[in-house]
């Protein structure tokens, strides 16, 4: 109990409180701008976290990402342009509600069920993490190898793209992770004689390039999104209690699916929203109403993507394996702040973990009042012309990349990754898989090579331990899943949508 008091004291520190409020506003504003995603908001925050205390640093990441995932619903609902990819699944539905004159209800559902999803996801994190930590203590390199590999395979299932292209993106990420001498043998690889490459490619410049610079590039070639008409909103939360009671079952299902998908390494909020929306339609009593402005799918998917955000921290905290691209950034920050992920984090640093839970809860509670203010101000915020935002984002990319190592080379690297991300996205190669490959490359390799050395080159020990056998089965299942769908479609079964999610 004293640990809990200590945690409350940590969170109540003035710098943490300021960090939570400031990053909440930042997350709401950035998330609501079309094209600026939650991942990008988080990546640009990393240089700021250098300067903060460990708890304040984690607080900024948690708060900003939760807010950005919610506020991505705002332009989706009002303009039919998702603010973040995680809102894309139900953008059409929300926009249809707006056209029916129910914008308040759609936005309120996004807000209310995001907050509920976030809190339920946090509770699952609180319950699950210590249980799994006990199990994780007995993990060897075999289990870690399979976990990391499973994470990579899940990342390839996320994308609404060809699974082969997704796997190719992931392999490309792993190849980029090979650069430098951070490998078990310490041999410099693929450095082309450049000393700047000896230390390897840092994930942050890669993330900023792929998610932020490529977005600025896209803005250069596309037309400016339409301006939001000024409008007055009625009460935002008026009908939410009615919706909660009416759609209790979909809500819980959404929370549950979101938690499961979040815990799976590599799969995050976007996938949670797509799967939940599809599930909602499948199990609904009135599937024919979907797409015409029916709140049921919004309830389920809106809860789901925020629930996955919290449970995505489970693999990140326990194994250092990112649950999605946001936790990939968070892991870097955890290491930087001396809170190295691992099962012992929960025993040796319990007060920090309690503080983390508290921040999640607080973030999801203050989301409701701040979210209402944001919705009311949305037409003013979204009025800012793109030409005034994108150049500043670009400048922040340059300064942020420079700040990670006080090294101008990383600024060039950010530009290179921007081009790579842009070209890949245009040709249907999912960039999230690339990023997870880069982040997890050295972990996969280290555990793979040490396992092979331990087993004397034998493959059998990879499957012998019970947990590693289960993880191996899941990984291979994820690998063969697209093949199964393809054969099912070919043999004339009822045509399944790819991964049962795309709609």
């Amino acid at each position: 109990m004293s640990e809990l008091y200590e945690a409350i004291r940590l969170v109540a520190a003035p710098d943490v409180v300021i960090a939570i409020v400031a990053s909440a506003i930042y997350g709401l504003v950035v998330g609501s701008m079309p094209g600026l995603s939650a991942t990008m908001a988080t990546a640009l925050l990393v240089p700021v976290t250098f300067w903060l205390s460990p708890i304040a640093a984690i607080a900024t990441i948690i708060t900003a990402s939760a807010m950005a995932i919610f506020s991505g619903d705002i332009p989706g609902c009002l303009l039919r342009i998702p603010g973040t990819p995680a809102s894309a699944a139900y953008t059409d539905e929300a926009y249809a509600m707006t056209r029916k004159g129910q914008a308040e209800m759609a936005l309120g559902a996004g807000l209310w069920f995001s907050a509920i999803g976030g809190i339920v996801g946090t509770l699952s994190l609180v319950l699950m993490a210590p249980l799994l930590a006990e199990m994780a203590l007995s993990f060897s390199t075999y289990e870690y190898f399979w976990l990391a590999f499973l994470g990579l395979m899940c990342a390839t299932l996320v994308a609404r793209s060809s699974p082969i292209k997704a796997i190719a993106s992931m392999l490309l990420g792993l190849l980029i992770a090979c650069i430098g001498m951070e490998n078990p043998a310490g041999t410099p690889r693929f450095t082309f004689g450049m000393t700047d490459l000896l230390g390897g490619i840092e994930p942050i410049p890669a993330l900023v390039g792929v998610f932020a610079v490529s977005e600025v590039m896209r803005a250069m070639a596309s037309a400016e999104p339409p301006k939001l008409p000024k409008r007055k909103f009625g009460s935002i939360l008026a009908n939410q209690w009615m919706l909660t009671k009416k759609y209790q079952k979909p809500m819980w299902r959404g929370n549950f699916i979101g938690i499961i998908i979040g815990v799976l390494p590599g799969a995050g909020a976007d996938m949670a929203a797509w799967v939940s929306y599809a599930m909602s339609k499948k199990f609904s009593k009135t599937p024919e109403l979907f797409g015409t402005g029916h709140p049921e799918g919004l309830v389920e998917a809106g809860a789901s993507n925020n629930a996955s955000l919290a449970s995505g921290w489970v693999p990140a905290l326990l194994f250092g394996i990112p649950g999605d691209t946001i936790t990939a950034i968070a892991i870097g920050v955890l290491y930087m702040k001396g809170l190295n992920p691992g099962p012992t984090l929960f025993t040796e640093n319990a007060r920090s973990m309690y503080a983390l839970y508290l921040i999640f809860i607080i973030a999801n509670i203050i989301m409701i009042p701040l979210g209402i203010v944001m919705i009311r101000m949305a037409s003013t915020v979204l009025r800012a012309p793109r030409a005034s935002i994108m150049p500043v984002i670009l400048l922040l990319c340059a300064v942020g990349a420079y700040a990670t190592g006080n090294n101008l080379f990383s600024v060039g690297l950010v530009g290179a990754f921007g081009i790579l991300g842009f070209v890949m996205e245009r040709n249907g190669y999912p960039v999230a898989a690339l990023v997870l490959g880069i982040v997890m490359g050295s972990m996969v390799e280290t555990n793979f090579v040490t396992s092979l050395i331990k087993s004397d080159g034998d493959v059998l020990p990879f499957f012998e331990r019970p947990v590693s056998a289960v993880l191996a089965a899941m990984t291979i299942g994820a690998l063969l899943w697209p093949l199964g769908v393809w054969i099912w479609n070919r043999t004339g079964g009822a045509r399944l949508q790819p991964r049962g999610a795309a709609e």
Binding site: W51, K165, C178, S388, A398
Partner: protein
């Protein structure tokens, strides 16, 4: 830049082959079978396989076609504007030390805003104010040693 699957697949096959080949030439660790070469060779092989499958169009049915949002009535060179952001980053990389942060950032924001179609009434004030705020935040608050160059900040 929309390329056909054949082109991107072929590029991946080439890249994978190159990775596997140069990986195989890495020196091994004496007395151990599994050295630094194993992983790049494995990845190179995988990339070659995936590239070949992509070039042959396998898995294409899974793709959700992306809506092309071309701006009508523009010349072919209009598409080259996407290269402005990386070019500006390259400019920052080389100019930040000699010119200093404030001047470099001023030029960067100015060019970026004009490339996005801003009028001078918006672009010039933005380019004057944004670098100062970013400098204040990063140099003063976050203690990032931004290069001073020709024009130092007043603080």
């Amino acid at each position: 830049m929309q390329l056909s699957d054949r082109v991107t697949g072929a590029v991946l096959v080439g890249l994978g082959g190159l990775a596997a080949w140069s990986g195989s030439r890495l020196p091994g660790v004496p007395g151990q079978d599994v050295g630094p070469a194993a992983f790049p060779m494995l990845i190179g092989g995988g990339l070659m396989l995936c590239g070949a499958m992509i070039a042959l169009g396998i898995g294409h049915s899974f793709e959700v076609p992306e809506e092309e949002e071309a701006v009508p009535g523009r010349s072919r060179f209009y598409g080259l504007r996407v290269l402005v952001p990386p070019a500006l980053l390259l400019f920052y990389m080389f100019a930040a030390e000699p010119l200093g942060f404030l001047l470099t950032a001023f030029l960067m924001v100015l060019v970026g805003a004009f490339a996005l179609g801003a009028r001078a009434r918006l672009a010039v004030p933005l380019a004057l104010v944004a670098p100062l705020i970013v400098h204040l935040a990063f140099y003063k608050l976050l203690r990032v040693p931004l290069p001073e160059g020709l024009l130092g900040a007043p603080w």
